[in-house]
Amino acid sequence: MKRDGALGIFEKDEGAPQPAEVRMYNCKDSINLLLEFLEGNMSPEEAQHLKEHLRGCSPCVDFLRTYKATSGLCKKALAAKMPKEVSEKLTEYLRNKIKSTS
């Protein structure tokens, strides 16, 4: 079953036979590794363990979605535009400096 391809998880091996001794990750392990996972910097084995956990853990999938959304949301919220008068002062300042150095 393909539950969420957009997150890059659940895309394969659904129902595949598991190794006899697989260390199962818990939520804490998974959340500690989210950055490396999203950047594709985990070892294949670690990534596999994480995907195994995410397959069966809705809270972690919700967490992953909101973790991913945080950066974009902050970027939009923190955008700043230079006030017009400051911009005019900047232009004047640079013109004077450039004139004096040339």
Partner: protein
């Protein structure tokens, strides 16, 4: 204009500016001043400092224009200059730094499972909510409350788009240390946004 077209326009303006065309340099300033000012304002939380950092940044860029070989985009180059100026200013403030406290992240049970469930999944309407002034204020406050080292890394990476290598050059921190701080900062900010949504959904 697409990013690619903007970069090409920057490249052409840069060539003219390097040949002494002051109006071409002014056009580059016009194109990048808001991003530089925004970075400086976010890092220093002072409009006066941000204005001065923007001036210093573009003056430095002008003075070193001939040294810039165009290996990177002009925007990235000027961004790095701005980040350096902002960090220098922060260091010179000599404000006593509070010990960097443990950042708040999710709570886990003894077995390492998420303690609070169901979680709010606000990721789908995040774009729309970004326009919400109240949420913007909540994010600004949460960002301000991050310990300085975490705030710097978060702003430089997630808001201003610098690479880990560039951030390492600017801050002097190792890439693993930067990644660790970035992750902790994102967790803390996710938590703050989550609080906002939960409060909002309760109608508080």
């Amino acid at each position: 204009m697409s990013d690619e077209a903007a970069r090409e326009e920057d490249r052409q303006l840069l060539e003219r500016a390097q040949e002494g065309d002051v109006s071409a340099f002014e056009a580059l300033v016009d194109a990048h001043r808001d991003r530089v000012y925004g970075l400086a304002l976010r890092m220093t939380r002072s409009e006066a400092d941000a204005a001065e950092i923007t001036q210093d940044t573009f003056l430095s860029a002008y003075q070193h224009l001939k040294d810039f070989r165009g290996d990177a985009a002009f925007g990235s180059w000027v961004h790095r200059i701005a980040a350096n100026h902002a960090l220098m200013r922060l260091r010179h403030r000599r404000v006593a730094q509070a010990a960097e406290q443990e950042l708040q992240g999710p709570e886990f049970t003894e077995r390492g499972s998420l303690a609070e469930y169901p979680l709010s999944d606000w990721s789908r309407d995040a774009e729309e909510k970004a326009l919400d002034a109240e949420l913007g204020t909540a994010i600004q406050q949460a960002t301000d409350q991050l310990p300085q080292g975490y705030r710097e890394v978060f702003l430089l990476k997630d808001v201003d788009g610098l690479s880990y290598e560039q951030i390492s050059e600017v801050t002097g921190d190792s890439i693993p240390a930067i990644k660790s701080r970035l992750h902790r900062a994102r967790l803390a900010l996710r938590e703050a946004i989550d609080d906002f949504y939960n409060r909002d959904s309760r109608g508080a």
